[in-house]
């Protein structure tokens, strides 16, 4: 769309802060001030921070829902919540955390960091980047609107039919989830495409694919997986919506439909999704932990391969969510074997981290604490997953609190611990100020102790037979003490997170100034100021190794030149390079701020609302609005080189 080849050979320049080049670039790249600039911005740094803040807001919502549930479950036979309230809360908790927190937080870090890691000036498709953020936000608001009318989704996050069919759930509850899920899927799919193009074509010259920062491997891998897997769940929810509103029979057994079709479609997306929401977190650890250990990552190639291999195998294990549905033994055997063997690539990453720490010199920063804590909970979440992969054992473990413990070790352990470590690591880059280390360490211990006190006992509650998704339990089941301990742990964890929130707010005002590279780290994002200027890099850096800022000290013969490269100052421009070798290929004209992304997502929100309330006239009106806005968005522009003739 925006890639146009030019005859011009770009100037090579040296640029630092305050140079004439920097001033000129700032004029092109700085967004307009005021409300318009706020709504129309396409700067990946602004959007990345918005993603992170919004995802943390959803984490807070999901967390509050969890704490209310933990009060209800703290003792047997409590009456804090009615069954209906409990069912809505556990469903919304799961949906919020898995869909509106877990990936968006990682997307936020990636949107902010990828162009900086790669040495370019923005995401490949900046307006699309803004669009995917707005769609993410509006789909979440759409979902939460269900609480306003007291009809939040209540069939669990995997929403099994026929419980979720119109016969058994006639309110609007399920429609909120179905439509919000499809709505969010648009954001995730397009976001994935944007990352794929950015990582494959917008790397700095010399950053051949084997020099790709390890974090980009995670993002690239899961972006491909998102694009491939999301259609399954979007189709599933669309068919369900058809069943519910037009009387089709895709899932209705009374008329030849298949309840298990839902489960296949759902888990065909659902299991890859589990890897989609943890692999980028793992790759953030692989990126930042070596910096904390003062050495490059051990086994870069193996870790990159393991990341891709995990994702590939992740597409072949969905049936392990369905071991109890009465499948033939042969199918069970295959899926059980793959589900056990998928642990092997995870072991590669684990040993790479351990070797990095062993041969490195840990700096005992808060980031390091979170990454070390992450490794322990990573292993616990890994082995409990390995246990559920063994079919006969899974027949006992599935749908008990053991699985609740497992998914929380994976989602909080693998995702949140990594994210908190990453926050302490990259906050200085994003804000220009350091987070307080003392508060950070206090926060870490609250989070680590609270998490383990809260969730480890759930393994045992599960082994003692407590089913998941029960709103209460009787005293003679022997689960009372363990549940009380879990509830206490949950609150300790919440306090730990609040301390980090206080730390962030405090540091934004009074934090120590960070400078460009406070951790003395090795990758390109640390070669520019903190926070980076709107154009990221005054000149496009040239890269000669995986650790461009450590080359001299690592004794590398080659040397990268972050300070000298293409100026690309004829307007908003960045460089496109070839896919494998990153040879300079095209000058890419980047779009200005635009309201089209916001307007298009508003029109989409209107479309989904009309589908919700069956307002057919307004539905057609929304479709027309969508077409008009899309046309305006795609209308060829001279400034983007989409019309022939001189542009500057």
């Amino acid at each position: 769309m925006t890639e146009i080849e030019y005859d011009r050979v770009p100037d090579v320049a040296e640029g630092g802060p305050g140079s004439e080049l920097a001033t000129r670039l700032r004029r092109f790249w700085e967004g307009r001030p005021g409300l318009y600039g706020w709504l129309a911005t396409v700067d990946h740094k602004t959007l990345g921070i918005r993603y992170i803040v919004t995802a943390f807001a959803f984490l807070a919502l999901g967390g509050i829902e969890a704490l209310i549930m933990r009060i209800q479950l703290a003792q047997p036979n409590e009456h804090v919540l009615s069954p209906e309230q409990y069912n809505q809360l556990f469903t919304m908790h799961g949906i919020t955390m898995i869909l509106w927190y877990a990936l968006p937080i990682l997307t936020g870090f990636s949107v902010y960091l990828q162009p900086l890691l790669l040495g370019c000036r923005d995401m490949a498709l900046p307006r699309l980047n803004a669009f995917t953020y707005w769609v993410f936000l509006f789909s979440g608001i759409f979902l939460y609107a269900s609480f306003l009318i007291g009809a939040a989704p209540d069939a669990g996050w995997f929403n099994y039919v026929p419980l979720a069919s119109i016969e058994h759930d006639s309110g609007p509850n399920i429609d909120f989830y179905a439509l919000a899920n499809i709505f969010l899927g648009i954001s995730t799919t397009l976001g994935g495409i944007n990352f794929i193009v950015t990582i494959l074509r917008f790397r700095a010259p010399g950053m051949s694919i084997n020099r790709l920062p390890i974090m980009s491997w995670g993002t690239l891998t899961i972006s491909v997986a998102s694009v491939l897997s999301i259609p399954a769940v979007s189709v599933a929810f669309f068919l369900l919506w058809m069943d519910r509103h037009f009387g089709t029979h895709f899932f209705d057994p009374a008329t030849g439909g298949q309840p298990l079709l839902w489960q296949h479609l759902f888990w065909l997306w659902g299991h890859p999704w589990v890897y989609i929401i943890v692999l980028p977190a793992l790759s953030m650890v692989s990126q930042a932990l070596p910096v904390c250990c003062r050495r490059p990552l051990v086994g870069y190639s193996l870790v990159a391969l393991a990341t891709v291999l995990t994702m590939v195998l992740g597409f072949g294990v969905w049936l392990h969510h369905m071991f109890a549905t009465g499948l033939p033994t042969m199918a069970l055997a295959f899926f059980s074997a793959v589900s056990i063997i998928i642990a092997i690539p995870s072991a590669v990453s684990l040993f790479a981290w351990l070797a990095t720490i062993w041969t490195g010199r840990p700096d005992f920063s808060t980031s390091f604490d979170f990454f070390a804590g992450f490794i322990i909970v990573f292993v616990i979440g890994g082995v409990s997953g390995f246990m559920t992969a063994s079919v006969p054992v899974d027949w006992q473990l599935t749908d008990t609190y053991f699985v609740v413990a497992h998914i929380h070790y994976v989602l909080i352990g693998w995702n949140l611990f990594a994210v908190l470590g990453a926050l302490y690591h990259w906050f200085p880059k994003m804000s220009g100020r350091m987070l307080n280390e003392t508060l950070g360490k206090i926060s870490f211990w609250f989070v680590f102790v609270g998490f383990n006190v809260g969730f480890f006992p759930m393994h045992i509650t599960g082994l003692l037979g407590m089913p998941r998704r029960v709103y209460t339990y009787s005293a003679d089941m022997g689960w009372g003490t363990l549940n009380l301990i879990s509830s206490i742990g949950a609150f300790v964890l919440a306090i730990g997170l609040l301390i980090t929130l206080v730390n962030v707010i405090r540091s934004l005002r009074v934090g120590v100034l960070a400078g460009p590279n406070p951790w003395d780290a090795d990758t390109l994002e640390w070669a520019t100021s903190s926070p980076p200027p709107p154009y990221n890099f005054a000149v496009i850096p040239t890269v000669a190794s995986r650790s461009p800022l450590w080359e001299a000290r690592l004794g590398e013969a080659r040397s990268s030149t972050p300070e000298r490269g293409f100026a690309l100052d004829h307007g908003k421009e960045t460089l496109g390079t070839t896919m494998l070798d990153a040879v300079p290929d095209v000058i890419v004209k980047m779009p200005e701020d635009s309201l089209a992304p916001l307007l298009l997502s508003l029109a989409l929100a209107a479309l989904f609302t009309t589908m919700m309330v069956e307002a057919w006239f307004w539905l057609i009106a929304s479709v027309v609005a969508i077409l008009v806005i899309t046309m305006a968005w795609l209308w060829p522009r001279r400034s983007l080189g989409e019309i022939e003739g001189s542009t500057t």
Binding site: P83, E84, A155, Y160, P162, L163, H168, P253, A254, G257, Q258, P259, R295, V298, G299, L302, A324, G326, T329, L332, A337, I340, I341, I344, A347, V348, L350, F351, L354, W358, G360, D363, S365, A372, I376, I380, V383, S390, V391, P392, V393, D394, W395, Q396, L397, D399, I460, L463, L464, P467, R468, V470, Y471, D476, G478, V512, G515, D520, R553, G555
Partner: protein, 351 residues
């Protein structure tokens, strides 16, 4: 228990010692109270499908992996460490000449691959062992999940031997019993932890499983697939009894309700208030919505394992089911004290 382990302490290889101590510790804390205090525990079983050996096997492997990796992590972090440079110093020293010890990864890779393949084989062997019962079951029980109770139907080629009960399954000890699983509404899951893992009941399809109890006893069962408002209160009991006792129980269950209570005031009230939904064989009460009540008083719980079947609970349940199980399909009837007493005294005759 601890002292017994302590006595052996000096003689065994260290790894064996620690794994035994670990197993003993877990057993002491969780398995021992499990049988006594946690009726849904599956850590100790009473039949081959309980697979507690494999469960304990993978559990111990898992715990060992966690302990070993945590030890490596702590050692890697704290051992052989010079004082870290202050984190505020601008140019922090890099580890020079650290090499790239990829061999560590390969070693870990080989070790975990061996363990994982071993467990895969163990899994396949266990799976093959329990795929089919050791002998052909002579009894087939059809269990149908309803929101939120279990219909239990004993099948037979001879129609006169078929009968229906609810929320309580009786089987003979030492004999495999085939279970056919169906659903009347949404997906439920059938689970008797001490005897067998879960199998779902799915509308539109019939799943089959089998169950075998080595010991006589009462085992708790529970629905484990989330099925709506009262998923929490969808339990049942499975009673394994010696063959002769089972046969006499079966004969009793085949009887219709006793004739002498016919046309009592209690029965009239029952017909008026309850018969639309409940069946009492031998009377005109033929409702199929709720559980068959022909032999209600032989069952030990009511409301699907929610309350003990004692007269006070029964009265409370009839008077206000929505208080006990909010959302239950049994409506709150406006039933006056006299009718309630009569219905209750009629139910007491259903044994």
């Amino acid at each position: 228990m601890w002292s017994a382990i302590g006595a052996d302490w000096g003689r065994q290889p260290r790894i064996l010692r620690s794994s035994q101590a670990l197993g003993a510790l877990l057993l002491q804390f969780y398995a021992a109270p499990a049988s006594a205090k946690a009726p849904l525990s599956f850590l100790s079983g009473a039949g081959p499908r309980n697979v507690s050996t494999l469960t304990w096997g993978v559990l111990i492997i898992s715990v060992l992996v966690v302990i070993i990796t945590t030890a490596i992590l702590l050692f890697a972090t704290f051992a052989r460490r010079e004082r870290p440079p202050s984190s505020t110093s601008k140019e922090r020293q890099l580890v020079s000449r650290a090499g790239n010890p990829v061999s560590v990864i390969y070693a870990g890779l080989i070790l975990s691959t061996v363990v994982l393949f071993g467990v895969t084989i163990w899994t396949m062997m266990t799976l093959a062992d329990i795929a089919a019962p050791p002998s052909k079951p002579s009894i087939t029980v059809e269990v149908t999940g309803h929101q939120w109770w279990w219909e239990v139907r004993y099948l037979s080629d001879d129609p006169s031997q078929i009968f229906t009960t609810a929320n309580e399954i009786h089987i003979p000890v030492g004999e495999p019993v085939a279970i056919k699983l169906r659903s009347a509404d949404v997906i439920h899951s059938f689970w008797v932890p001490a005897l067998s893992g879960k199998t779902d009941t799915i509308p539109g399809q019939t799943n089959t499983t089998w169950i075998l109890a080595d010991r006589a006893g009462t085992y708790r069962g529970q629905c484990t697939e989330y099925c709506g408002l009262q998923h929490a209160h969808m339990g049942f009991e499975l009673v394994a009894m010696p063959k002769e006792k089972f046969e006499s129980w079966r004969k009793d269950q085949l009887r219709s309700a006793s004739e002498k209570s016919l046309a009592s005031p209690g029965q009239r009230a029952f017909m008026q208030k309850c018969a639309v939904c409940h069946t009492v064989r031998g009377t005109r009460a033929g409702g199929r919505v709720g559980p068959d009540l022909t032999h209600l008083m032989t069952r030990s719980t009511i409301a699907a394992g929610t309350l003990p079947n004692r007269i006070g609970y029964l009265s409370g349940w009839i008077a206000d089911p929505q208080h006990v199980k909010p959302g239950s399909k049994m409506p709150r009837l406006d039933i006056n004290g006299q009718d309630l007493a009569q219905v209750r005294s009629y139910l007491e005759t259903l044994n």
